[in-house]
């Protein structure tokens, strides 16, 4: 199909200008988005004693250096444990909640949905303070590892629920019914039929929840103890006193693993999971 385009002479440069402006601003903002990431990675390879950009020389010395830093290794271990345990707890609750939301009908369903999504409604910093407040009331501040497990499992439930919910909504109810009518118990039906079908949703949700917990400062800052510092909180306090490139090496390592997880999500359920907010 062709359309008769009545272009006026003065419009041509205007259109060209518009196009240049559009692409120019897109390029500018994409550079803006990438800048902090790229600058950090590039400067982590410096050979100099102090962090500079552009880096002086090339070396991997800061990567070897951070492998000997006690605070890095212990806080990394804490963060990995906290993220793994809280993701596991949130997965169980999110699968149950997704099942209720897709397979059951009852009056208070709207209220149930709002409750499940409430950690997204309440500002994270307010939840962190509220949780910390209760912890102090019961004098439980010594159990910071347990507090971190629990608090992170609460806020990650809605993050996990969304991908699991949508993958469960997409599965065929008839397959489950067929299995049940052939004599499978609900338990067998879940593990043999439902679970494999919702696995991509669980993987994507678990990655999002894991990275949330691993990255979190807002809630962890209230709950960490002297013996249990998570990596972001520890890194935050170390950066101030570290003029060398070791924080750059640590953040580059984090960026590298984040990229891997991002591409796993892209391959399993696609980037659309981020669009649901």
């Amino acid at each position: 199909m062709t359309y008769q385009v009545t272009e006026k002479l003065w419009e041509k440069p205007l259109i060209a200008l518009g196009r240049v402006f559009l692409w120019g601003s897109v390029c500018f903002w994409l550079v803006f988005v990438l800048a902090p990431v790229v600058v950090t990675i590039v400067s982590s390879f410096t050979a100099a004693e102090f962090l500079t950009f552009p880096p002086k020389g090339f070396s991997l010395r800061w990567y070897f250096r951070v492998m000997e830093l006690d605070w890095f290794l212990t806080s990394l271990q804490t963060s990995l444990i906290v993220a793994t345990v809280s993701t596991f707890i949130a997965t169980v609750f999110a699968v149950l909640a997704a099942r209720v939301l897709t397979r059951h009908r009852f009056r208070a369903k709207g209220a149930f949905e709002i409750l499940m999504l409430s950690p997204l409604i309440i500002p994270g910093v307010v939840f962190g303070f509220a949780f910390f407040n209760v912890v102090l009331q019961f004098r439980l501040e010594g159990l910071s590892l347990l507090n971190l497990f629990v608090a992170h499992s609460v806020v990650t439930i809605p993050l996990m629920l969304r991908p699991i919910w949508s993958s469960m909504a997409g599965t065929e109810l008839s397959l489950e019914e067929a299995a049940q009518s052939l004599g499978a118990t609900p338990w067998t039906t879940f593990w043999k039929i439902t679970f494999p079908m919702i696995l991509p949703g669980i993987v994507a949700g678990a990655i999002i929840a894991f990275t949330f917990s691993f990255n979190d400062i807002t809630i962890a800052i209230f709950l960490v103890g002297p013996e249990t510092q998570t990596l972001p909180v520890q890194l935050m306090s170390q950066i101030e006193y570290t003029p060398d490139a070791s924080p750059a090496a640590i953040t580059s390592i984090i960026i590298f693993f984040t990229l891997i997880l991002f591409f796993i999500i892209d391959r399993t359920v696609g980037m659309d999971v981020f669009a649901q907010k």
Partner: protein
């Protein structure tokens, strides 16, 4: 079924419900309750809130929160609109590249971003080195630990939200409308401003609401990039609670933030439902 909740539903739904009620809802309600019970008297009163509103520190922090959020909203629109437009119209390969760059930071830690911005904007950072190098300034500019740094950092954090909410409406635009406008003799600029822009207004509005509210209640980035001397509301609450131990003020700020957060969610729901209905009605 309408007589009550079935036993199976109760068994499956109760654990998650209890977990969230006990660990999230009750602690928040308890915090609200504390904010309404002043140390001096007994019973409920707004005394803590009155004291808070009168304090200059709170007024400054509130003003800073609003200034930051307005700037971040404007900047994310300026950045998000062209990006969403290009992402929806470009070839699949360009589109994927743009989306990966825009969405990947979703998974990035606030510390990682803040460190990157410190390397760029710090006293010996990339920007200052460059400006001194070309002889534009003699002394390094203070670009970090202030409101400016918070605006930059939060724009970086919230840009994907704006791009995604714009993208949903742009992708829904019927390309035939543009073809029709063109066949009727409208030029590309006219089509853009008279056809495309009005159709994206719902996404623009909901995106702006989302970004504004997330910016008002954000903590990590303002805390890391703003420094202790330029607190926004959330950082002020943390300072009252953690460094000044002023519990009555801290709980009152928390109450304000809670009301703000809930208010924005309700407004967002209301506006997006309304706009969807209008869009479906073809208005």
């Amino acid at each position: 079924m309408s007589t009550g909740v079935k036993r199976e539903t109760l068994i499956i739904g109760a654990p998650a419900s209890l977990w969230l009620v006990v660990l999230l809802v009750i602690p928040c309600l308890f915090l609200l309750f504390q904010s309404l019970t002043p140390l001096s008297g007994t019973g409920l009163s707004l005394e803590n809130y009155e004291n808070l509103v009168e304090s200059g520190t709170f007024q400054k922090a509130l003003r800073r929160s609003i200034i930051v959020s307005v700037w971040v909203t404007v900047l994310t629109v300026l950045a998000g609109y062209p990006i969403a437009l290009v992402a929806s119209r470009a070839s699949p390969r360009v589109r994927t590249l743009v989306m990966v760059i825009v969405i990947f930071p979703f998974l990035l830690s606030a510390v990682v971003r803040a460190y990157g911005w410190t390397v760029i904007l710090g006293e010996n950072g990339v920007v200052n080195d460059f400006l001194i190098g070309i002889g534009l300034i003699a002394e390094p500019l203070r670009l970090i630990q202030n409101t400016f740094a918070i605006i930059i950092g939060e724009t970086h954090v919230l840009l994907p939200y704006m791009v995604l909410s714009l993208l949903t409406v742009i992708q829904r635009i019927d390309r035939n409308l543009e073809a029709a406008a063109m066949s009727l003799g409208a030029s590309p600029p006219v089509i853009f401003f008279k056809v495309v822009v009005p159709l994206t207004l719902p996404g623009l509005l909901t995106g702006m609401l989302l970004v504004f509210s997330l910016s008002m209640t954000a903590f990590a980035t303002p805390f890391l990039l703003g420094g202790p001397r330029s607190p926004i509301l959330t950082v002020l609450m943390y300072q009252y609670a953690y460094t000044l131990f002023d519990w009555s003020k801290a709980t009152a700020v928390a109450g304000v933030l809670l009301v703000l957060g809930l208010g924005f969610v309700i407004l967002h729901r209301f506006v997006s439902r309304r706009l969807m209905r209008d869009a479906e009605a073809g208005r």
